[in-house]
């Protein structure tokens, strides 16, 4: 960081603000991960880090490299797209697995499955979308 004294001041302040906001929101999300009581509350907390936190740091990185190389550097959009697409998928898979485990253990405070279907995925698939579910 020694040859950076000709880096513009507005860009430095903006990059610093975005970095601090992003990492602060990530820290808040993981503090929620520690402090919430049940799993279904906890599954919300780290998404603060994957949306606002990752967004802030990725925009800071894009801005920094664009100003540093004097050309538009947008390759961090790849990480943004990937994280935005995959985080809901993985967390929904995880929450469904947790609901399945809680139901099979017969916890009393679990809501029943909608429309009286069994929680197992094999029995809920209708015959016409069974090949798609197998793949």
């Amino acid at each position: 960081m020694t040859g950076l004294d000709d880096f513009p001041l507005w860009a430095a302040i903006l990059v610093s603000l975005l970095l601090l906001v992003g990492s602060g929101l990530t820290l808040l999300g993981t503090i929620g991960l520690v402090r919430f009581q049940s799993f279904y509350e906890r599954v919300h907390a780290p998404t603060l880090g994957t949306t606002c936190g990752a967004g802030g740091i990725l925009i800071a990185s894009m801005l920094y490299f664009s100003v540093l190389q004097s050309r538009i550097a947008l390759h961090e959009v790849l990480i943004t797209l990937f994280v935005t697409v995959t985080t809901p998928v993985t967390l929904m898979l995880l929450a469904r697995a947790a609901i399945y485990r809680d139901r099979t253990e017969g916890k009393v405070d679990m809501p029943q499955a909608l429309s009286g279907k069994a929680p197992s995925r094999v029995e809920t698939t209708s015959p016409d979308d069974a090949p798609a579910a197998k793949g």
Partner: protein, 93 residues
């Protein structure tokens, strides 16, 4: 002036990310059930990815971006595989 601002904010944000990763590690080690540990592992992956990105800003090199992309990909694959394992008891059937 601007390099001082950038250096201090990078250091502070890296320490905050390290604190976030320690909170996630606490949940991995302490989590009462397996799904809590998987959730903590996912948060740990995200923290590691963001920490690698801030190292890239600090060194002014774009090579760190590819490492961050690989970490994001591994986070998706490992969390999806572990959720599948918790659901069905096996990953590939």
């Amino acid at each position: 002036m601007s390099s001082t601002i950038l250096l201090w904010s990078l250091t502070l944000s890296q320490w905050m990310l390290v604190a976030a990763m320690s909170c996630a590690t606490f949940r991995v080690l302490r989590g009462p059930r397996a799904q809590d540990r998987v959730l903590g592992l996912d948060a740990l992956y995200v923290g590691a990815m963001l920490l690698v990105l801030t190292f890239g800003i600090r060194n002014g090199s774009t090579i760190y971006f590819e490492a961050a992309l690989v970490i994001a990909l591994l986070a998706f694959v490992s969390t999806a595989a572990l959720a599948k394992f918790l659901m069905r008891g096996e990953v590939i059937e």
